[in-house]
């Protein structure tokens, strides 16, 4: 049984280096090409100064870079700043117009999979879908932890998808939904910031035992928890562990996967997320999109360690390549 999954990388993974100006977009694309992550996901609000005013020159450089390294533009992550103006929310029409603006930019960049941020109202995607369809792009709701396909907000999106049945709407699950054990980069950070070891152990153990993590806030408060400890208890409700087979529920609408990871170990596995089972499920479900690496460990370690996103992404792709190879003849 073969598969039709491609490997890619989201430039989000290099946020540390972009922030510090130690890497450019071109540097990141070069890395991606080198490790066989040929599909590129861009977050324009990270990478394009002056957004949303993107010059033709910038676009030309982008396509030149793609050609130079043999990579392909694939995905475009948009935001929806409903609270752009103090004191009022964007109207429905303004929100739809904002999505259309992103569709236009996505087309210029050659990207076809647009990440709709989770907070995007279903009605906005409903009304932007025809424009997206005509432009040949898809608006894919990023379902990241703690969201899931039975979440009240996501149910609203499913209603719209069921009613509209548009090829321009779908999902982009983020594999952070499948955090089987508490990320140690996060618990170790809490220790460095002064959390009591016994409190950290309690949070980690409750999470790893798949216990009632929503009970940790009260528990930590009753233990006299300080801000770091309370923050760790809160984090325990932001990660989720779910059976990776959850991906099959909407696999027919899944057109891209954000391959979230927090720590690639020296042994070449993700510390928390069972990628082996996830890749098997995606192949079983016939997923034919991109596994786009999304490294999000820098924020947990940057206080005490040098961040090497290139090394992390390189390890991630070594793992993905290995796991996918098991499904190749």
């Amino acid at each position: 049984m073969s598969h039709r999954i491609t490997r890619g990388v989201s430039l989000y993974s290099f946020q540390e280096e972009f922030f510090l100006r130690t890497m450019t977009v071109r540097d990141a694309v070069a890395v991606a090409a080198k490790i066989g992550a040929l599909d590129i996901e861009i977050i324009p609000e990270q990478s394009i100064p002056g957004f949303p005013h993107v010059s033709d020159e910038w676009v030309r450089d982008w396509h030149d870079t793609m050609a130079e390294f043999g990579t392909r533009p694939l995905a475009y992550d948009f935001f929806l700043d409903t609270l752009r103006h103090p004191g009022r929310r964007l109207t429905h029409d303004e929100q739809v117009a904002s999505v259309r603006r992103d569709v236009d930019l996505a087309v210029r960049l050659g990207t076809t999979k647009l990440r709709a941020i989770i907070s995007t109202p279903a009605e906005v995607l409903r009304d932007a879908a025809p424009y997206a369809e005509e432009a040949g792009v898809q608006l894919l709701l990023e379902v990241h932890a703690p969201f899931h396909y039975a979440h009240p907000w996501v149910l609203r999106h499913l209603e719209v998808m069921d009613a509209l049945d548009s090829p321009a709407l779908g999902f982009m699950p983020d594999l952070g939904c499948f955090v089987e054990r508490f990320p140690r980069v996060a618990s170790e950070r809490a220790l460095r910031e002064g959390a009591r070891p016994e409190v950290v152990d309690l949070v980690v153990k409750t999470y790893d035992d798949h216990g009632d993590v929503h009970g940790l806030m009260d528990t930590v408060n009753y233990l006299g928890g300080g801000p770091v400890e309370v923050g760790l208890a809160r984090q325990a409700t932001h990660y989720t562990w779910r059976d990776p087979r959850m991906l099959l529920e909407q696999i027919h609408r899944t057109h891209h996967v954000q391959a979230k990871f927090y720590e690639m170990t020296d042994e070449g596995t993700e510390y928390s997320i069972p990628y082996d089972r996830i890749v098997d499920v995606l192949v079983e479900g016939g997923f034919s999109g991109c596994l786009s690496s999304e490294y999000e460990g820098n924020r947990h370690i940057q206080d005490a360690h040098p961040v090497d996103s290139v090394e992390q992404v390189t390890r991630h792709h070594a793992m993905l390549e290995r796991l996918l190879a098991r499904h190749e003849n």
Partner: protein
């Protein structure tokens, strides 16, 4: 995230205009993984040696564009980019004394997908640059 990079070393200096020291300025980054339209930057509060700069005496400059801090809410056509060093200037006749200063920068960012503001606090001991 990015708290340790908020206060940029070597950027605390006095501002001299027409031979007079009118205040001080500091290089500051936003603790966020994307750029943000300025209208969503609710506050960048600088506290030096325990004295918080009054918002009305504070100016915010990114890539050459200067704005009164209290006026950022109107600015929908400019952004504070990812990792961009903005200059926050405070009118303070005489400026700061030479030597080390306890600098705290507290930012409030209106992030639409979050129920509470983003931003946060950064603090560092910073030496006044020449």
């Amino acid at each position: 995230m990015f708290e340790k990079y908020v206060i940029v070393p070597g950027t605390l200096r006095n501002v001299v205009e027409d031979g007079r020291t009118t205040g001080f300025e500091l290089g500051v980054r936003m603790p966020y993984y994307r750029g943000l339209g300025l209208s969503m930057v609710e506050d960048v509060a600088v506290t030096v040696d325990g004295v918080r700069a009054a918002p009305e005496r504070t100016t915010f400059t990114v890539h050459g564009n200067s704005y009164p801090l209290t006026g950022l809410g109107e600015v929908v056509e400019d952004r504070w980019e990812l990792g961009e060093v903005a200059t926050v200037a405070v009118a303070h006749p005489g400026g700061l004394a030479p030597g080390m200063h306890d600098v705290e920068v507290s930012q409030r960012l209106r992030i639409s997908y979050m129920p509470v503001p983003g931003g946060g606090r950064a603090r560092a001991a910073v030496e006044l640059s020449a």
